[in-house]
């Protein structure tokens, strides 16, 4: 697959090391459609290619990616400016079960940089709000300075049809919000565990403990979904770089049903 050129329409710095790129096709044609939870391979010419979840509204005309500058490619991405060109291949992978969640309560749990891959699902849930039961967002970060999309979170919190809980691992002077790990929020949220779909993204340890806590509350493993991160390269299950036991994260994932991978998560060897 050949990368399609996209133009940087907007670049925004979200936190000290996190940024958001808004992209549009260079040829002016409309962008491809995608399902919430899918990812793109973003190619920075002369540097390399990285898999990054799509984080914008599925119904918007632009393509939005939020990521953290940690490696050579994402550091180069963080220096992009309006008008610069990147290559895009995608969208790849499985998506959040937004159709299956219809009529049920939905609990969305994000840890740190795990919020961006869940944002398209939240946009979808809110755009079709009548189709779902209670919708709850539980979000944890290291410190208040690491909270992403603050303005949007405040708007969401103001809605009467969405419960938003935010917590940080370490408070800073002046912070009056919650302090504690994101798993502690699970007991605070009002949802029916027997009729809930849960979507989780964050570091693997966080996802494991969140799933355990949800199961303690009565949510079945078959209704919990997690998004995995592995070393995706080809995006179509050919190269084997992202192999996860018998699965390929790029093709069989990144969104997996928890009961299908929970035993793999505790195997050190894979």
């Amino acid at each position: 697959m050949v990368p399609r050129p996209y133009v940087v329409k907007r670049m925004r710095k979200d936190t000290v090391d996190t940024f958001t790129l808004e992209l549009g096709p260079k040829d002016g044609r409309s962008r491809f459609s995608f399902a919430p939870g899918q990812f793109n391979m973003i190619y920075i010419y002369g540097v390399g290619e990285v898999p990054i979840s799509i984080c914008g509204d599925p119904s918007s005309s632009t393509l939005v990616h939020t990521t953290r500058a940690v490696g050579a490619v994402t550091k180069a991405m963080s220096k992009l400016r309006r008008g610069d060109i990147v290559g895009i291949r995608g969208p790849f992978g499985t998506s959040w079960p937004v159709e299956q969640a219809r009529t049920r309560d939905v609990v969305v749990v994000a840890g740190g940089i795990g919020l961006p891959p869940l944002r398209p699902a939240l946009y979808h849930l809110l755009a079709h709000r009548d189709a779902y039961g209670k919708v709850v967002l539980l979000y944890g970060t290291s410190t208040p300075d690491d909270i992403l999309f603050k303005e949007e979170l405040e708007n969401w919190r103001a809605r009467f049809d969405l419960e938003v809980f935010v917590t940080v691992d370490r408070g800073t002077p002046g912070w009056r919000g919650n302090v504690g790990v994101v798993t502690t929020l699970i007991t605070k949220a009002g949802f029916d565990p027997t009729n809930t779909i849960a979507m989780i993204v964050g570091p693997e340890v966080m996802m494991r403990f969140t799933a355990l806590e949800l199961m303690k509350r009565g949510v079945k493993a078959e209704t919990i979904y997690v998004s995995m991160e592995r070393n995706m390269k080809c995006g179509i299950g050919l190269c084997g770089h992202c192999q996860f036991g018998p699965l390929f994260t790029c093709k069989d994932g990144p969104v997996f049903r928890y009961d299908q991978i929970k035993d793999l998560l505790v195997k050190w060897e894979i």
């Binding site: 953290r68 690491d146 002077p173 504690g180 790990v181 605070k188 966080m206």
Partner: protein, 153 residues
């Protein structure tokens, strides 16, 4: 007292405690209210209560001369605040400050300790329930210490 007993018996902490013991516990309970920013207890002072938070939020804090008041954890509706009343030397290890208007049921630790000494079955029941909370808080603290969201170098 009837209302207090009903409130206490509906709380998961006292689930299946049994009517006789519920009456004993209720005898040590009272309703309390704290204004925003009011300290509920201070580090180093005598720990003779624990609280069942009914409404509001409470910050558990430590004071450091260099960094001021550091919040370690926040607790809210339905949470249990304080277990130092159960373990000698019965003094608070942290400060607890109400962040919002907070309503709680206070349980008199001295009164409960005496009842637990008289009836070890009650003591064992309460200890089992507090051990569960301590285990949960320890697990959360361990996860907090991992700094999971930080960038790995």
């Amino acid at each position: 007292m009837e209302t207090l007993e009903r409130l206490l018996s509906q709380h998961p902490f006292f689930k299946e405690l049994g009517g006789e013991y519920m009456q004993l516990v209720t005898g040590c309970a009272s309703n309390v209210r704290f204004e925003p920013d009011q300290f509920i207890f201070r580090e180093g002072t005598e720990a003779n209560q624990f609280y069942l938070i009914r409404e509001g939020r409470v910050a558990l804090q430590l004071f450091s001369p260099e960094r001021g008041h550091i919040t370690i954890e926040t607790l809210g509706e339905g949470d249990i605040l304080g277990w130092s009343w159960l373990i000698p030397p019965y003094s608070w290890h942290f400060d607890a400050k109400a962040l919002d208007l907070t309503r709680a049921i206070a349980l008199d630790g001295k009164c409960l300790r005496r009842k637990c000494e008289d009836d070890h079955n009650l003591g064992y029941e309460l200890l089992k329930r507090f051990s569960h909370i301590m285990g949960q808080r320890l697990e959360s603290t361990r996860l907090q210490l991992l700094d999971l969201y930080g960038v790995r170098s």
